[in-house]
Symmetry: C2
Subunit: 351 residues, 2 copies
DNA sequence: TATTAGCACTCGCTTCATTTGAGTGCTAAT
DNA sequence: ATTAGCACTCAAATGAAGCGAGTGCTAATA
C-alpha cells in the first residue's frame, strides 16, 4: 500500500493530537481540527489503512487510534516541524546557566535542572570527563604537626587535593623545597605515567621524605584511576507524575525507580554517541532497558574540555519538537559563553 | 481520666499494629494479637477512652482506630522499645560507608543513600559546614600565558581553588614570590576579615601584581560569602511509593515535589538542632511546611570539622524504632572511622 | 472511481442500587 | 469490673443499566 501524502497528513494529525491530549484520536476529531477538506468517513478508511501499515493501533475496537512506535518514528524523522523556542523559554535557560558554576559537575547539574524545568519532563545527564590532563605543578602545604595537604595543578588549571596524615614531621621550608622538586620532576607528565625510576630517584634525592613521596604518588594514581568518574544525575522525575500515563502508581514507580538507579540510567544512555546531533530513542526500540512507553532524547555536549550527554526522558507521547529545540539550544550554547562574560570560562573547583 | 498501664499497653498495641498494617485496628485484633488477657469488649471500652483522651481516632464510625499525632508522640517518647539493628543492616551501612569518600559532600551523599536503602524511606541531608577556617597558605600557579590558578589552603586542610584569566603576564618566579608574600600577609586570618589596609599594603609592596591581588581578594570574599553553601540532597523518594498512603498519585506528587525542592527541604530541616540526639517530628506538629501525614526523624552528625543534619522522611506510620537506630548507628559511627583504617580521616577535595 | 452519508454494532465508563462484613456502642448477664 | 450478645453504621465490593464515542460496512452521490 502506498504512503500517500494524504496518509502522511493524517498520521501527522493523529500523532500531534495524541501528544496533546493523551486520548485515542478518532476520525471525527481529525476531520474537524486537522484535515477539514475530508469527511470523517474518508479519514476512517485512511486510518484503517494506516493501522494495517503499522503506524497506528487501537487500544480496543471501539476507540480512536494511537500511534505505534513505528508511527512515532516516522513522525520524528520526517513529519514533525521544528519548534521555535519562546523568548520565555530561552530566558529561563539562560538564567539557570548564567549563575557562576563552580565545578564542571555543578554546571551540568544546572543544565540538567534547567532542561527539566523548561521541558517539564525528566532529565538525565552524564559527564564523561575525558581527563587527559598533564601535571603543571605539585604543592605541599603542612597544616599541622602531622598533617599536610597535597595539591596537584594540571595543565587545564584543574586542581586536585588531599589531606594526608604523616608519621614524620614536615616543616614549611622542607615543604617548599619538596614542592619545587616534585614540580620539576613531574611537571608535564600525565597523572598515570610516573615511572618507578622517577620515584626511586626522587626518594634518593630527598632523604627523609619517602613517606610523603609515596603518598603523593599513590594519590596521583588514585586520582588517575578515576578517569571514569562518570557522574550520573537526574532531575525532574516528579514532572512525569502529571502525565496521565503515570497516574497508575505502579507505572510511576517503575520509571521513577529507573531514574533513581545510576547503573540503569547509565546503561540506558551509553548506547549511542552519534556526533553532536540530537538522538531520539522511542519506546523499547530494541536497546532493551525497561523504558517501555518512554522516549529518550539525547544530546552530547562539550564544555571546557569535558564532555558528556544530557537527555530528556518522558512518555512516548512527549513533545519531541520542543524537547529537541531546548536541548539543541542548551548544548550548542555551551561552547560559547552562555550568558556571562569572560568569567564563564574560569573553571573552579573547591571543597 | 487516668492513663493507666492497661491503656498504655493498648495504645502501644494500636500504634504497633497500625505501623505494620496501615489498616485501622479494631478491638478484636488487639484482643487476639496483643492483649490476650482481655476480651475485645473491654478493649473496646478502653479504646473509647483513649479516643476521648486524644490518643486515637476513627476514620469513620464503623472502623477501627488509628493513632493521632498525640498518640504517636507518646509512643515515640515513652512507649516504643529500642530496635536492635540486624547484622545485615549494619553490614549494609558499613559497606556503603567504607568506600573511599573523596569530598565531604560525597561522604554525606553516601550516608544519605545508605540510610535510604536500609530504612526504605526517603532521606534528606544537609551539610552546613561551619567554615570558620583560617588561611594557612596561598599559592599561585600559572598554567598558561594568561591564566593562573589561585589556591587557598585553610587551617583544617581544606583547599579552595579557582582558575583566573589575567591581562598581564605572570611567570613562575613571580608567582612563587607572590605566593610567599600572600601567605605571609594573610596566613592566620579568616577568609572574610582581610582589611583594606592589608590589600593596599600588599599592592604597594608588589608592584605590577595589582590585578592578581585583586583577584585573590575577591575570590576570598566570594568563597567566604558561601558560608551557607548548605548543600541539600535527598534520596529514596521512590521508596515512599510502596506505602499505601501514597498510592494516591496526588499524595505521592505532593511529597515528591517537596523532596525535589531544595528550599522547602531546607526550611523543613532547619528548625531544630537539639544537640546530637535524634529528633522526631511528627505529622504537622506546628512547624508548618506541608509535611502533613509525614514524619521526620533528624540527627546531627559531625565529621572532620564539618557538620550537618541527616533525616528520614516517611509516613507518620513509619517504623520509628528502626529508623532511630539506623540514624544513631550511622551518625555516631561517623566520628570514629566507620569501616576503614586511618585513611578514613583524610579529607580530600577535587574537581 | 473516489467520496460521503447513514446506520448497526462494539465496548469502555459512569451511575446507581444492593450486598457484604468489619467494627462499634450499648445493655444485660456474670 | 468484665464480658457476651446484639443492633447499628458505613466503606468497599459487586453488578446491572445506560451512555456515548468511535468504528466498519453498505449504499447513495458527484
Amino acid at each position: 500500500m502506498e504512503f500517500t501524502d494524504r496518509k502522511r497528513r493524517i498520521l501527522h494529525a493523529v500523532v500531534q493530537d495524541y501528544i496533546e491530549t493523551a486520548e485515542p484520536v478518532g476520525s471525527r476529531t481529525i476531520a474537524r481540527k486537522y484535515v477539514t477538506d475530508l469527511s470523517s468517513a474518508t479519514i476512517r478508511n485512511e486510518m484503517a489503512d494506516l493501522e494495517e501499515m503499522g503506524y497506528l493501533e487501537q487500544p480496543h475496537s471501539s476507540a480512536g487510534r494511537i500511534p505505534t512506535v513505528l508511527g512515532y518514528r516516522v513522525f520524528v524523522d520526517s513529519l514533525m516541524e521544528k519548534y521555535k523556542l519562546s523568548v520565555m523559554e530561552t530566558i529561563r535557560m539562560q538564567e539557570a546557566m548564567s549563575e557562576k558554576a563552580n565545578r564542571f559537575d555543578k554546571l551540568i547539574e544546572k543544565a540538567s535542572l534547567a532542561i527539566a524545568n523548561v521541558t517539564n519532563y525528566a532529565t538525565v545527564a552524564i559527564s564523561s570527563g575525558k581527563k587527559r590532563n598533564r601535571i603543571k605543578a605539585v604543592q605541599l602545604v603542612p597544616v599541622s604537626e602531622k598533617e599536610a595537604v597535597i595539591i596537584i595543578v594540571t595543565n587545564e588549571g584543574g586542581v586536585k587535593s588531599k589531606k594526608v596524615r604523616l608519621d614524620g614531621f614536615v616543616d614549611s621550608g622542607e615543604a617548599v623545597m619538596l614542592s619545587a622538586e616534585l614540580t620539576k620532576a613531574l611537571s608535564g607528565r600525565t597523572l598515570g605515567d610516573i615511572s618507578l625510576e622517577t620515584v626511586v630517584r626522587l626518594k634518593s634525592e630527598n632523604e627523609g621524605a619517602d613517606e610523603l613521596i609515596d603518598k603523593v604518588v599513590s594519590f596521583m594514581s588514585e586520582t588517575c584511576g578515576e578517569k571514569d568518574t562518570r557522574e550520573v544525575i537526574s532531575h525532574g522525575g516528579v514532572n512525569l507524575l502529571k502525565f496521565p500515563e503515570y497516574s497508575d502508581i505502579e507505572k510511576a514507580k517503575e520509571i521513577l525507580e529507573v531514574l533513581d538507579n545510576k547503573e540503569q540510567l547509565q546503561s540506558m544512555i551509553n548506547l549511542p554517541s552519534a556526533g553532536n546531533k540530537v538522538n531520539i530513542i522511542i519506546g523499547d526500540e530494541k536497546n532493551g532497558i525497561k523504558l517501555k512507553d518512554c522516549s529518550l532524547v539525547l544530546c552530547n555536549y562539550e564544555f571546557n574540555g569535558n564532555e558528556g550527554t544530557i537527555g530528556v526522558i518522558g512518555p512516548t507521547r512527549m513533545d519531541y519538537a520542543r524537547v529537541v529545540s531546548a536541548l539543541e539550544y542548551l548544548c550548542e550554547g555551551m561552547r560559547p559563553q552562555l550568558g556571562g562574560g569572560t568569567d564563564k570560562l574560569e573553571q573552579r573547583e573547591e571543597e
